[in-house]
Symmetry: C2
């Protein structure tokens, strides 16, 4: 059987050509890949955010396919743009590739970039990037977005009396990570190849939430038009991120345990959910958002659950959970 073609067997320009054949075209791109920089049309303000996936602290190659990695690297950045109430317009991607990586995995990653954009943020695509060699596979994505003339929705705009609302699911990506650590590790704690056929349907759903997150990107601008006063991407667990929004706004958030699903503690701890947490004035919420609590005056605790200070887990810490190689508790 023929060996796969590896990154180290190709020149930089060969690799680049194979990626660019697959990344699609951004509708706002005035100049795409191939020059010193890309040029993207905007309405006057550009939203910019960056988030990197590095093998080891952020993923295992045994569990994530190239396509999964391309998808997730884009999705987490698209979610941050959406959380400002903006529409994602363009991505740039800096790849650090190990020499022993099959080029087919790089091509699959490019497919993941394109399809995550098509599915989550139509019109957005990769407009540029950078290739370098790296022992650890590294995917640094920067996303741009357009506020379309609206004010960006910050974390700091919530006011007492408003409704706390959520779009997206909580706790599933963390549960998916627990499935991976408990089912696909050898005795030394090393990741072993994921075979999704071995998974029960519910486990597979959780693993999919971890490997290919589906943030409600379109609901970001929709919430902005619908009057969201504050918004953020929930990526480090609802409790921790709600605390951040509360602190930025100088308020407290009182969450309703019944609205947090069958396992409120799991929902509050979570991690890598990429849901949108937003606040709205009293009244109708935009479709896609469900009420999970109220904004109240600042007090001793930034996050309350059913009126009681929340003293639960501090949420996701990427410096502790994935990085330690151990399953989150």
């Amino acid at each position: 059987m023929q060996q796969p073609t590896l990154v180290r067997e190709l020149t930089e320009s060969d690799i680049l050509a194979r990626i660019l054949a697959r990344t699609g075209r951004a509708s706002a791109a005035r100049v795409g890949p191939g020059d010193d920089a890309a040029v993207v049309q905007t309405s006057g303000s550009v939203v910019v955010t960056t988030d990197t996936l590095i093998e080891g602290p952020d993923f295992r190659r045994a569990w994530s396919s190239g396509y999964d990695l391309g998808w997730k690297a884009c999705a987490v950045n698209l979610a941050d743009v959406a959380a400002m109430g903006a529409r994602p317009t363009a991505l740039v991607v800096a790849l650090g590739l190990p020499g022993d990586l099959p080029i087919a995995d790089v091509e699959a990653m490019a497919d993941g970039f394109r399809e995550a954009c098509e599915a989550l943020a139509p019109g957005c695509a990769v407009v540029g990037g950078d290739l370098t060699q790296s022992a650890a596979l590294t995917i640094a994505v920067t996303a741009l977005g357009d506020t379309e003339g609206r004010e960006p929705v910050l974390r700091s705009g919530a006011a007492a009396g408003e409704v706390v609302a959520l779009a997206g699911e909580m706790g599933q990506a963390a549960a998916g990570l627990r499935v991976l650590f408990s089912r696909f590790c050898d005795e030394a704690g090393r990741a072993t190849p994921l075979d999704r056929a071995e998974l029960a349907s519910e486990e597979d759903r959780l693993v999919a939430a971890q490997l290919r997150p589906q943030p409600p990107v379109g609901l970001g601008p929709f919430a902005a038009r619908g009057g969201a006063t504050a918004m953020m991407d929930v990526s480090d667990g609802l409790a921790r991120d709600a605390g951040r929004l509360a602190r930025a706004s100088g308020v407290a958030l009182d969450l309703d345990a019944r609205a947090l699903g069958p396992d409120p503690q799991a929902a509050l701890a979570g991690g890598e959910d990429h849901a949108l947490l937003a606040t709205f004035p009293e009244g109708a919420l935009p479709p896609g958002f469900r009420a999970i609590g109220r904004v109240v005056a600042a007090g001793a605790s930034e996050v309350l659950v059913d009126g009681q200070p929340h003293a639960g887990g501090s949420g996701w810490d990427p410096y502790r959970d994935w990085a330690s190689g151990a399953a989150p508790a």
Copy 2:
């Protein structure tokens, strides 16, 4: 003596706070660090580019201080924005930090970010970023720029009869790298600590060109206003990059050996120069640019020197030179 504080001894938010205390403020930032994304004012088109430095393929910690790395990671991106004829407005920085890195090095890196912007692109600063753990120190910078209402200057606009011009120095950064590989490596080829006091003044100048490049960023928009028809950042050697500009424009560039300094071959090979190569209509060149040749009709060879096809070195290849751990020939 007290041990330095290491990255692994601090929380993510502690590290972030120490960086943000030093990164300055971008004049175009409407929303700076601390939310899900930054928001940057633009005139309608935003230029975006990304370039990553990874320990090993791109630098050695024994040779580059934290400040050097911060400076260089910014400078190379600012050069790409300038090469579009645009003014850099904002940077986002994704850092992959080894746990054993002293936090003082991270702070010095942030100083390098700030001072490279202050020196090369006043008004530009870091507006956001991302921290993750990484075995290899990784600095992925994305730069944004504003075309200020002008058309971007592409690689593809050169026409026969125009003047080929250059701003910046050629061959020095590559010569500086040779100094480092020949003077600061042990017998196994491992980098040994750089002591610049050991260097003669000329060697020190070359090493500085390698470690803290000074691209003529302000001359990019200046050239655009001055009528540049094509422009690019010369980072992979003049011969290779001139070939790229020629190919993009469907022309050939005939360079004048006498204009390339005392060692034209070294100038043509180069690498990591971060000079600006541009073409202008016949007539006065903008100050800062010197004529180095003419644009001629496309022929069998994209780059000529004194009318003869250039068959010299193919220039800088980051997949071959730094990555191999060997000094470029």
